[in-house]
């Protein structure tokens, strides 16, 4: 079993890693997290054992990069103008769905569990390996996160209910 060309990893997992980064560090800082994740992965790729689970490996790197970015943000807050009163979509290359902001507002563990299980598709045991704690705790955190998103996002609930 040999390693795939790195280009294939970007092709196959780029979208998933972007979703995960958007969920974990926020829609706008996700770009930095994505770039740092893939650059670190490229650096380490030759040493990755053959047959490793690429998706779990990339999500683990993204998790660490997200922690770095969040810490750096806490240490050196960037001054901004008055925050907008409502969610603005003007000037954004793609208007983020308002659900992203609700995800960003979740407590850390819940946000990570939702991202790694539901957005990256990792089983709870792998989620637990990344965020710490047991698989059951990861399952509960993901469920709590989803319940909280449901409460905050009634529009989607209505759409789901009308099906």
């Amino acid at each position: 079993m040999t390693k795939a060309p790195f280009e294939k990893l970007v092709e196959e997992h780029g979208a998933t890693v972007l979703r995960v980064c958007r969920a974990v560090v926020g829609f706008h800082e996700a770009q930095d997290a994505w770039s740092e994740t893939f650059l670190a992965a490229l650096r380490a790729y030759p040493q990755l054992p053959d047959g490793a689970n690429i998706q779990a490996w990339l999500v683990t790197i993204a998790h660490r990069k997200a922690i770095d970015i969040t810490r750096a943000r806490a240490r050196a807050p960037v001054p901004v103008d008055e925050p907008p009163e409502s969610r603005s979509t003007v000037g954004l290359p793609t208007a983020p769905d308002p659900l992203w902001a609700d995800v960003a507002a979740l407590p850390n563990k819940q946000r990570q569990a939702v991202a790694y299980h539901f957005l990256a598709g990792l089983p709870y045991q792998q989620v637990a390996d990344i965020i710490g704690g047991s698989a059951d705790a990861a399952r509960r955190a993901a469920a709590d996160g989803i319940n909280s998103l449901r409460r905050n996002y009634p529009r989607t609930q209505q759409e789901a209910g009308s099906r």
């Binding site: 060309p5 294939k8 972007l18 958007r22 490229l42 939702v114 998103l149 789901a160």
Partner: protein, 210 residues
Amino acid sequence: MSTPETDPAAYLSALYDPDPLALSRLRDSLVGAAATADLIDVAYRTIDSPVGKLLLAATGQGLVRVAFDLEDHDLVLVGLADKISPRVLLDPRRLEAATRQLSEYFDGGRTSFALPVDFRLATGFRRAVLAHLPAIAYGHTESYSQVALAAGSPRAVRAVGTACATNPIPIVVPCHRVVRSDGSFGGYRGGPAAKSLLLQLERTTARPPI
């Protein structure tokens, strides 16, 4: 009936937008950062040519592989990842000179290539054979036995055939100029039609009809 496991995934569907525009920008900046950090061990691109789509790949030392369409470019990339390094990225910038010179060659305006090449995919006698090939002038041919003689092993005619058949950098390293002593083309990595086209191109360009 949806289960609690599948229902949330549907509920989160707004977050599954693949956003190809953002991804393509991110990919480009990743390649730029990777090049700056010297982390691209093999850069590649594909070009269209009269002999079909060609894959060009280069290491930091030079052009390491030219592959014809019928070799299956995906398989060629897997081979490069295996033999050289899995740090393989699509990066046309490292292949600008090769692209330009090949285009000039196919237009008939270039009779030799001035490109750094990396022969690491050929070893020993095969490499000695390949090193001799650029000495066969544009528009000319040599037989397998002439090449064997020039490479210092006059009896290794069959090995010359193998070296040409496995030339990792065809066209640029002109194994197409090696033909059978009876004048027939002999085999070619890009297929007999490609070899015939290249020889025809060189004949007409080197000796334009009066």
